[in-house]
């Protein structure tokens, strides 16, 4: 059962072939038996999951089921879950039990899905390897037999590893600069970062509010569509939520791709990309040509400035968002504070890890008197130029295709000594967040036995087309069905 997709499990439940209690038990047993080698979960909610599974079976028996009723899944530990510890991968929130549900968590609850626990992540979603988590690094299920354990990517590394290891069929995730697409690529699964504002940010612990977006991870594009069906939509509790109708994302999966116009941004096929990676991506594009798509080269002329703009805007927003962690209302508090200043400064020094502190300091610097125009305002202007690049490109093509990451999963510890080396991991993913457009990572081959992701970027609110484009590829390829040994 654990190798089946969400769509298949949903049909099994619908047909009475298996109960949610049996299914939930099987996945919980797998987590308990196998997760010690991946560390993909921070919290396992066994008792709650079994109770929810029982309730789901009763709901099905009463003829009152949704496609998700009784299907197990996991939440990235950045989504607040009522009564369940939510850490954001930080010591700061080790004892934080939210008194409310994130809108995304409420959506899954309403749909009757069974949450098995909370997945590991880079601290406050700041990282590309899951090595900044206070709860220890996550190990990629791929490449275990090679020379050293490999990272799953980040920041949603726990969700990606758990899905790849088939500990859950699907998991929620978030993407601020590549945190869904890069781990999905490195773990050989399918992930979608929707348009900014498509999925509510309410109760999703904030990193950089103008970039953060919740999204989906599963093995197939179809399962991503099933997830987005219950996650997308307007939420009055999120001031930047998009007030637009939500289509049924599964309804258009089978549309033919004949005539699809694909653009290949030449800046994303640069010398930063290894030839072996490029070959896999080009092979995938050739599959699309066989399906009737046309391909042309396009340009995103400001793409080379995306990392620089991001590393002003994201830390600046983070420094403001993370000012709320002060040891007063919730979360970590230092022992025996001498005065108010000591309470603040020691709580934050002890509660935050080193990458989070670096970003808060950079952001505070960029926003401080005398530097605001040179850094923050300048970066926002460059952000406009980057957005304009995408708007121009989508005048001529329907989707853009590129690699997700410059190389496959790297060995743990390889990029931790210099933060800038780690930042360059997101060189092909970050511009998408600055522009706010949706993008996916789809399994598209292997290099040295490690998965390679194809990035498919869409126009604003064109998630249905992205999912259709990915689904059709998965009808003629089997990269997404390969399993780590």
């Amino acid at each position: 059962m654990h190798n089946k997709s969400v769509a298949e499990l949903s049909r099994q439940l619908e047909g009475g072939k298996i109960s949610s209690v049996e299914l939930t038990r099987e996945f919980l047993d797998r987590i308990k038996a196998e997760d010690s080698q991946y560390n993909s979960f921070i919290t396992i909610t066994e008792d709650q999951a079994m109770a929810d599974a029982k309730a789901a079976d009763e709901q099905r028996a009463a003829g009152n089921a949704s496609p998700w009723t009784g299907v197990p899944f996991a939440h990235k530990d950045i989504f607040c879950t009522n009564g369940v510890t939510t850490t954001a991968g930080s010591k700061m929130l080790a004892n934080f039990v939210p008194p409310y549900d994130a809108t995304v968590a409420a959506n899954f609850r309403t749909a009757g899905a069974v949450c098995l626990g909370k997945t590991n992540m880079d601290e406050f979603a700041m990282g590309s390897s899951n090595e900044s988590s206070f709860y220890g690094p996550v190990t990629n299920p791929w490449g275990l037999s090679g020379s050293g354990k490999r990272v799953p990517g980040g920041s949603s590394g726990g969700s990606a590893a758990a899905v790849a290891a088939r500990l859950v069929p699907a998991a929620t995730a978030t993407d601020t600069g590549g945190s869904i697409r890069q781990p999905a690529a490195l773990c050989g699964i399918t992930g979608l970062k929707p348009t900014y504002g498509r999925v509510s940010r309410y109760g999703m612990i904030a990193f950089a509010s103008s970039l953060d977006q919740g999204g989906t991870m599963a093995r197939t594009a179809e399962d991503n569509a099933l997830m987005l069906n219950i996650m997308a939509g307007f939420d009055p509790k999120d001031s930047t939520s998009a007030d637009r109708a939500v289509p049924d994302y599964t309804a258009t999966l089978n549309e033919p791709l004949k005539g699809l116009r694909i653009g290949l941004p030449k800046e994303y096929f640069s010398d930063q990309l290894s030839p072996a990676m490029e070959e896999q991506v080009r092979n995938a594009v050739r599959e699309y040509e066989k399906l009737g798509a046309t391909v042309k080269e396009v340009s995103l002329p400001h793409a080379n400035l995306a990392i620089a703009a991001y590393y002003v805007i994201a830390p600046a927003e983070a420094s403001a968002n993370l000012s709320r962690f002060d040891g007063v209302r919730y979360g970590y508090r230092c022992e025996d504070p001498q005065d108010l200043s000591d309470l603040y400064t020691r709580t934050r020094a002890e509660g935050f890890g080193s990458e989070v502190k670096r970003r808060i300091l950079v952001g505070t610097y960029a926003l401080s008197a005398g530097y605001f125009d040179a850094y923050y305002l300048k970066a926002q202007k460059v952000r406009r130029l980057i957005q304009q690049d995408f708007i121009n490109a989508f005048k001529d093509v329907d989707v853009l295709m590129s690699p997700v990451s410059p190389s496959p999963a790297f060995v743990q510890g390889e990029k931790t000594s210099d933060p800038v080396t780690m930042y360059l991991e997101d060189i092909f993913t970050i511009a998408v967040n600055l522009a706010g457009v949706p993008a996916m990572s789809v399994p598209a081959g292997f290099v040295d036995g490690l998965p390679v992701g194809l990035q498919i970027i869409g126009n604003y609110f064109d998630e249905a087309r992205l999912l259709n484009t990915a689904h059709q590829f998965q009808q003629v390829t089997d990269w997404h069905q390969k399993l780590p040994q």
């Binding site: 930047t240 460059v382 406009r384």
Partner: protein, 95 residues
Amino acid sequence: MTISREDIEKVAVLARIRLDEEQIPALEKDLGNILSLVDQLTAADTDNVEPLAHPLDAVQRLRPDEVTESNQREAFQAIAPATENGLYLVPRVIE
């Protein structure tokens, strides 16, 4: 781009993060590297370009001025480090 020890100390005060003396040399190096990366921005021609704060250029939505939330003080304070009589406790501020 380099960042001085004085700048780092000043920013740490603004960010309310206590730094130990031995952390500063590594921060000088790391923050200097990050700021060097960011300095690529100076090469961009941004004359007559409007800054972009929100990808959809949305404006703040307003709602009717009605009471929609109930008071949940007890639920919120149940997870606080220290409270007394419905108040959050911090070290003495005024002697």
